[in-house]
């Protein structure tokens, strides 16, 4: 009888222990809205929250003239608030954007004058250059002369025809309207028999590394390179990284048998025409009652965009990392379809998608 009872108890105990264990979780605390805008637009109070009144937060990155623009859009049934922040320190690509972002951001502004001129007259051997066709980001920009009017990071192709009938193409990237953390350029000397000497005129102590390529083929990692080139046009490229994190590629065009037919690194002239920079400039677009207001072209010289916090939130539906940007904003909006300007003052919590 005792054995029978023990067997029953053992069976019940084993059946009980084999059951799946469920953890009764504590009640999930009601969370507060994460993304929101609270402030005053003129005399109107704005309370915009993602999750209330059909409020939704969306993030998207775009590229404007080769520069990443980080956008966050918070909208509900009444308002739409879009924040855009341009990238900065373009040549410091090794540093994540969220760490480069300064505490105070300038408001974006328009520019009525060209930021850079591209012309055959900027070359020292312009007398042997018959014609240069300029292509900006693959599109024809001009013959002999081209103008860049907007800030950006451009890929320039120069199709050069020399007076002796020979022609070639040289490509270089230009950073226009953004900070440069170096001022180096490539120099060369061609000797007989195709012996070429190339070097960078920057202080060697600022370099971290350099690599030389001849027509895309790796040649050397020395500060000075001495390739032997054939009787033809060749593109000599220097890929270097500075200790401050700046990284660039610069190229020149040389002929193995003609000391006159060459093309210098025209990116050396990218920052000589316009001094103002567009690094981390921000723009806000506000839609209300069918009207659209923008900080662009509004008088925001004395306006402030002070970052109070920039915390990682999570991933959006596309799997991209999103940070919550908390800022105190005091700026002016201008009706894009008129001249009406409205002041805005408030606190924003906007998400931006940072890869």
């Amino acid at each position: 009888m005792m054995t029978y009872k023990l067997a029953i108890i053992a069976i019940l105990a084993s059946a009980f222990s084999a059951c799946k264990k469920i953890n009764i979780e504590d009640p999930v605390a009601q969370s507060a809205p994460v993304f929101k805008v609270h402030g005053t637009l003129g005399e109107t109070t704005i309370d915009l929250e993602a999750g209330e009144n059909n409020g939704i937060m969306q993030t998207k990155d775009t590229v404007i003239n080769g520069v990443t623009c980080f956008k966050g859009n918070l909208s509900d049934k009444t308002y739409e608030f879009e924040l855009s922040i341009l990238d900065g320190d373009i040549d410091l690509q090794s540093v994540p954007f969220i760490h480069k972002l300064p505490e105070n951001l300038p408001f974006g502004f328009g520019c009525n004058q060209p930021l850079m001129f591209l012309s055959k007259d900027i070359f020292s051997n312009k007398q042997v250059i018959q014609e240069i066709k300029w292509y900006i980001n693959g599109e024809m920009a001009g013959i002999d002369k081209a103008v860049i009017s907007s800030p950006g990071h451009y890929m320039i192709d120069a199709h050069v025809t020399f007076t002796n009938g020979s022609s070639a193409t040289l490509s270089n990237d230009l950073i226009v309207g953004y900070k440069n953390h170096h001022t180096s350029s490539i120099h060369h000397v061609l000797y007989e028999g195709g012996h070429l000497k190339v070097w960078i005129d920057e202080e060697t102590s600022e370099f971290q590394s350099i690599k030389w390529y001849v027509d895309g083929e790796y040649e050397s990692s020395q500060f000075e390179c001495n390739p032997i080139i054939s009787n033809d046009f060749h593109v000599i490229t220097a890929e270097f990284m500075f200790k401050n994190g700046a990284k660039r590629r610069k190229s020149i065009l040389v002929h193995g048998n003609n000391t006159q037919t060459f093309l210098e690194d025209f990116s050396a002239y990218e920052n000589i025409f316009f001094k103002q920079k567009w690094d981390y400039t921000t723009q806000i677009i506000l839609k209300k009652d069918g009207k659209t207001y923008s900080t662009y072209n509004a008088p925001n010289v004395t306006s402030t965009f002070h970052i109070l916090g920039k915390n990682y939130y999570g991933k959006n539906a596309s799997g991209k990392a999103v940070h919550v940007l908390n800022a105190a904003v005091d700026c002016m909006f201008k009706n894009i379809n008129g001249s009406e300007t409205i002041p805005f003052s408030g606190t924003i919590f906007i998400g931006i998608e940072i890869p």
Binding site: K5, F16, C19, K20, K21, I22, N23, I24, E25, P27, V28, A29, Q30, S31, A32, P33, V34, F35, E49, A50, G51, E52, G55, I56, M57, Q58, G314, N316, A317, G351
Partner: protein, 395 residues
């Protein structure tokens, strides 16, 4: 040859001096039977039970009643078949005395000549010895007869003068009842015999139905059900029986749920819904009862402390109406009272010496639900009715 007195004395003296006692094992067994019964084990068990349940006994003392029930007489003699000794008072007693007084002049004559005629309906009739010779049924003049004769009529017999007392005036109940009572007395002798004074083991199976533990006005509810199994010992304490046991009980719930909805803000808002549907709760119990037995019936007062061990449940999770998970399993009893205490009264009926069935009506003294997360209002003291079958072992 004749023996002189001195020689006889010497012979006797020598015989006494040389006499040796021959010991046999049978002698010791006979002596052992005469020794008092070793109730040490029984006393120890009763002592510990009394210590544990000192407060229970003090409460139960109020339920005790003394002296209303006449002490059962252990019958040491056999009554003739179908003859029942029943106490009759008042009118019958006076009639008996009158009959004896008119027919017998002395007590000795009464004792010698008093005779009981066995009859079927349980009514005895006293007749004189002279009448015995004229009747077909003759009494057996054995010891039982003498014992009966020595019992005073006012206490034991219904000695009836047929001349003054009509048989037809007795109702069927009176005719039948003494016979049923005889059976009850038999049961009582069994239950109260020297065998029944020993500690007995028992096992029982219990099924119950009771009040739900949380009232939800928006939904209709049936009731909670339960099943359980107990085993224990019962200790006779004079007329009271103390029963101690241990077992387990499983309570099955009717719609006991936790439903929680939470807004989770993010890029928009998500509605998270967690639902826990509790199915059953397993408890370990220590049932204690004090019962008073009269015949086949007994009334009891019950106290059952317990400890809740585990519960089974279903957990579902929805996000914006889409099911995320659906699990069945067991969980701890953190949302319930860790301990339980049931008290109540019961009635049971002995089918035979080994088996009895009963009903209990219990009430939970401690509110079983210890959290406000449950849907509905927690019931403070739910009650439960139980039906049980108990088997007594060892008889």
């Amino acid at each position: 040859m004749s023996w002189s007195d001195d020689e006889i004395d010497k012979l006797v003296r020598d015989a006494f001096n040389e006499q040796t006692f021959e010991f046999r094992n049978e002698y010791w067994q006979d002596i052992e039977k005469q020794l008092p019964v070793n109730n040490r084990r029984k006393s120890r068990a009763i002592f510990y039970a009394a210590v544990m349940l000192a407060s229970l006994i003090s409460i139960g003392y109020g339920l005790f009643f003394h002296g209303n029930r006449p002490a059962m007489t252990e019958s040491k003699f056999k009554l003739p078949h179908n003859v029942v000794a029943k106490a009759q008072k008042n009118e019958q007693t006076s009639q008996n005395n009158h009959f004896l007084d008119t027919h017998f002049t002395s007590n000795s004559e009464r004792n010698q000549h008093l005779h009981i005629e066995p009859i079927e309906h349980g009514i005895s009739t006293a007749i004189s010895p002279a009448d015995v010779e004229n009747t077909s049924a003759k009494a057996t003049p054995d010891d039982s007869f003498i014992e009966l004769a020595n019992i005073k009529p006012s206490n034991s017999f219904a000695v009836v003068n047929t001349d003054s007392y009509s048989v037809d005036s007795l109702s069927a109940k009176d005719a039948i009842f003494p016979q049923v009572e005889n059976q009850l007395e038999n049961s009582n002798r069994i239950l109260n015999s020297s065998n029944a004074s020993k500690i007995r083991y028992w096992t029982e199976t219990v099924a119950g139905i009771g009040h739900i533990w949380a009232n939800d006005q928006t939904e209709s509810h049936f009731a909670n059900t339960s099943v359980g199994f107990n085993a224990g010992i019962q200790l006779p304490l004079n007329r009271i029986t103390l029963s101690l046991g241990a077992g387990f009980k499983s309570t099955f719930f009717d719609k006991l749920t936790i439903n929680e909805r939470t807004k989770i803000y993010g890029f928009g808002v998500d509605q998270l819904e967690n639902t826990y549907t509790f199915k059953s709760l397993v408890s370990l119990t220590l049932p204690v009862s004090l019962s008073y037995t009269f015949g086949r019936h007994s009334l009891s007062f019950n106290l059952t402390p317990g400890a809740n061990v585990s519960c089974s449940l279903n957990k579902t999770q929805y996000m914006n109406g889409n099911k995320l998970s659906d699990q069945n399993g067991v969980a701890n009893v953190s949302l319930f009272q860790k301990y339980s205490l049931e008290t109540g009264i019961g009635y049971d009926y002995y089918i035979n010496e080994k088996l009895k069935v009963g009903l209990r009506c219990n009430i939970q003294m401690l509110q079983p639900i210890a959290s406000d997360r449950f849907t509905g209002t927690p019931v403070k003291n739910p009650f439960e009715g139980q039906l049980y079958i108990r088997r007594i072992l060892g008889l």
